[in-house]
Symmetry: C2
Subunit: 232 residues, 2 copies
DNA sequence: CAGGTCAGTTGACCCGGATCATCCCGAGAA
DNA sequence: TTCTCGGGATGATCCGGGTCAACTGACCTG
């Protein structure tokens, strides 16, 4: 990982699996590498602050982070969890409408937004990738709106586990290692930590999941979990 | 309105106030007119069906409609209300992730998505407009996620009134004419009709609003309403 | 080892909003 | 005029999840 810090190196570990870099020509990857800057954060630090001037976008390399919004009344809603390969910061209002905070040690490439946009005008591949990311984000937010508006606590949990299964690198149905604490899950699902605990307990009791440690979830009855999650 | 049906006419009432057509060259407007088709719907009809093949986008000319998602369990969440000038259908997955249903008589221009995208590649103005719309939509969905995850019933109502004040053409603080019924408001805010009624009653009692008819809302204490809405 | 801290769980209780039922009222239709 | 019908309001009751507090266990540090 350390050699990635050396930006003078022509080789940069821009992963082809990641939506932003997927199927790009080497030339585009080089351009991206030139304009990028690697940022390394410890747990609990901000990649960007809510309401600060925007103009930068990020691609997560390692670790995990939350995209969160905090109101003047101090209430917090987590808009998304982001993991290695995820691209964040696309909305281009003048100021960030959210903060991005690391859950663990995080490293991420930071790009000046206007330069990335310029390059995307010249590269059909990059442009298509950004478009795909935009659409994915919008689809995810629609799912979340439905979840918050219509689902019960234990249904939200089931949805959350399936969501993590899809998005968390390395997650498998029989072993999902959650990198976030109960408070983060609660603030993502519009619940409290107590309700998250109780809902997990209920799902365990009903034999749908097991949870050897609080951070590990094993899906026991995928059919049942899917049903409750009510995937449309 | 009827003459707009005559698409052979070089003049088409593409309104400059509307985000899609804003500041476009006459040449672009003409191209748009060529590829468009005017659709006229009665109340309760669908502009597009959830899960049907997508590939079309819409610009509302008159009337109002809802963007809704209905789950297999039959629960409904309204993702947005759309009004004259609004542009809908941008997300380009293969199938519509939502249905668009008219609340009243609606007329709307329908564009083939791929042709609109092609034209946007050639027209900087159109491209910028579409980008702005995308960003607006994303900002709105973030607001809605925060609302559904964190706010109380009467706070949701206050937010809703301010939201309508901004988005509903012709709305003024002392007179907001709501084109949707209580059930629609409830399904937008993640509440029930009864709770909507009771919350409106409470806001009236507290002197924040008045409501001469169920469809008319007058904001009496803008400061108080803003406070409760907790605009970030 | 004791003591402190912090995440998570569990129990007791409460309350906001859902549910169910009834009533009201304005718009048509006969 | 009367009847019906559908949207909205209101009352009674219930319950899911919030609130508050106590407890547990892992992991520190002195």
């Amino acid at each position: 990982m350390l050699q990635a810090l050396d930006l003078s190196n022509t080789y940069v570990d821009f992963d082809n699996d990641c939506p932003l870099f997927h199927d790009l020509a080497q030339q585009d990857l080089n351009r991206l590498a030139e304009m990028s800057r690697l940022r390394v954060l410890r747990a609990g630090q901000n990649l960007c602050e809510q309401s600060s001037p925007s103009g930068r976008v990020f691609n997560i390399v390692s670790g995990s982070a939350v995209v969160e919004r905090i109101s003047s009344a101090g209430r917090r809603q987590i808009l998304a969890f982001v993991f290695p390969g995820d691209f964040v910061g696309l909305s281009n209002s003048e100021y960030f409408e959210y903060g991005i905070r690391s859950l663990s040690g995080v490293s991420a490439y930071e790009f000046p937004r206007h330069r990335l946009v310029e390059l995307s005008e010249a590269s059909a591949g990059l442009k298509a990738n950004i478009k795909n990311i935009r659409n994915m984000v919008l689809a995810l937010t629609f799912d979340q709106i439905f979840l918050l508006g219509q689902k019960r606590a234990h249904e939200r949990l089931c949805f959350f586990f399936l969501h993590m299964l899809e998005r968390l690198p390395g997650a498998r149905p029989d072993c999902i290692r959650l990198p976030m604490c109960r408070q983060d899950i609660a603030d993502f699902l519009g619940l409290t930590t107590e309700t998250v605990s109780r809902s997990v307990a209920k799902l365990k009791r009903d034999g749908l999941i097991s949870s050897p440690t609080p951070q590990t979830i094993c899906i026991r009855d995928m059919e049942g979990v899917r049903e409750l999650a009510d995937i449309s």
